[in-house]
Amino acid sequence: MSGIFDRLQNRLEVQKREQGISAIELADLPPNLRRIMRMMLRELAMKYPDIVKAVDALPEAQRISRPDLDQALDMLVEQNWLARTGDGDMTTYRVNLRRKSGSSLDKDIWSALDSRITTSKDTPALSKPPSTE
């Protein structure tokens, strides 16, 4: 039974990750939300008191009031753009970026490419390194 539960749990985790935010969506966020997300991207994970401290340290014009901050965090969690764990002062937030999706090309095309790559492995390398941009 635990196997089924674990698989279900994993599936839910994967779905959550797939619903994360993409970098282009960051650009469309209102300034307060974007400010929080940019800070979280750099810190990876932050406890609530640390977020409050960091927001309070912002220049006055960019500062976010406590109710606005709480509302913004709730909204970001609701969208699955931030993941929230723990309670009270131990509540931790972590950014959830959407996975970069793979190619939508037909599998046969990738198989054909893989076999071409395997066949060409014996091809001698260039004697001079190729120039880069």
Binding site: S22, A27, L97, R99
Partner: protein, 259 residues
């Protein structure tokens, strides 16, 4: 505090990787702890400038993204592996690390086919800063706008956009500048590269500054000497008195002034 410096160009062939490698090398040569990460997973190239080839390459960013190793295991110490190239030898003992993307064709096709976890890429960059105690992390990106490029812009303290004096570059750069502004990048500089010697560089700089309403850090000449080197060495270290190298040091200075 570590600074994340993203180097971007809207189109290929602007000289972005060469510029990035030279800039990172200059900062490392001046005693800073510097990391370079090649997020151009589809067409990696910056490793060539640091004397790395497929045979010498250990772990790669691709393996890190699949969870097969840590980011510090991927980091290649340039200062301990400078090789014989005259310019690179000046980096001996310097604190400069490169996280290369794989140049194995199977690995490139695999990442294109399967995609990857962008959270892990971001974690890798932040951990690289902490664990290697970096002063600067340079992110070399794929030209154009896509996931890893946008992420690198979103997390950067300084964004350098490299463009050529060319109408196609001008229009594409406008898109990138707009995105950078909407992502609140604190410091944005434009780099004009491959300008013909017959141009008035001061005038080019003024025109570009006024067109984008953003500062031009430097205008670089199209250099035959650099083309001739073919990415075999770090140009600005090998030819420190060259006009290109002098312009590069001006940009390095501007970056250090931000900090």
């Amino acid at each position: 505090m570590a600074y994340i410096v993203s180097i971007h160009s809207f189109r290929g062939g602007t000289g972005k990787s060469n510029f990035t490698a030279n800039l990172a090398s200059q900062l490392a040569a001046s005693g800073k702890r510097v990391g370079v990460i090649d997020t151009d997973i589809q067409s990696p190239g910056i490793h060539v400038l640091f004397g790395l080839n497929e045979a010498k390459m250990g772990h790669t960013l691709n393996e890190f993204l699949r969870g097969e190793c840590t980011i510090t295991e991927v980091a290649f110490s340039v200062g301990e592996n400078t090789g014989d190239a005259e310019g690179r030898k000046k980096l001996q003992g310097k604190l400069l690390w490169l996280v290369p993307s794989s140049i194995n064709s199977g690995e490139i096709s695999r990442v294109l086919r399967d995609g990857y976890d962008v959270n892990r890429l971001n974690e890798g960059m932040q951990k690289m800063i902490k664990e290697l105690k970096l002063d600067y992390l340079f992110i070399d990106t794929h030209p154009g706008l896509q996931e890893e490029t946008l992420l690198s812009i979103a997390i950067s303290d300084i964004l350098l956009i490299v463009l050529r004096p060319d109408q196609q570059d001008f229009q594409g750069t406008a898109v990138t500048v707009d995105i950078a502004r909407s992502l609140d990048v604190p410091n944005l500089f434009l780099i004009v590269n491959k300008a013909l010697s017959k141009y008035d560089f001061k005038q080019v700089s003024e025109q570009v500054t006024s067109f984008y309403d953003a500062p031009v850090a430097a205008v670089f000449p199209l250099s035959e000497d650099m083309v001739d080197m073919g990415s075999a060495d770090i140009f600005s270290l090998r030819y420190p008195d060259h006009i290109w190298s002098k312009a590069l040091r001006e940009v390095a200075q501007k970056i250090m002034e931000v900090g």
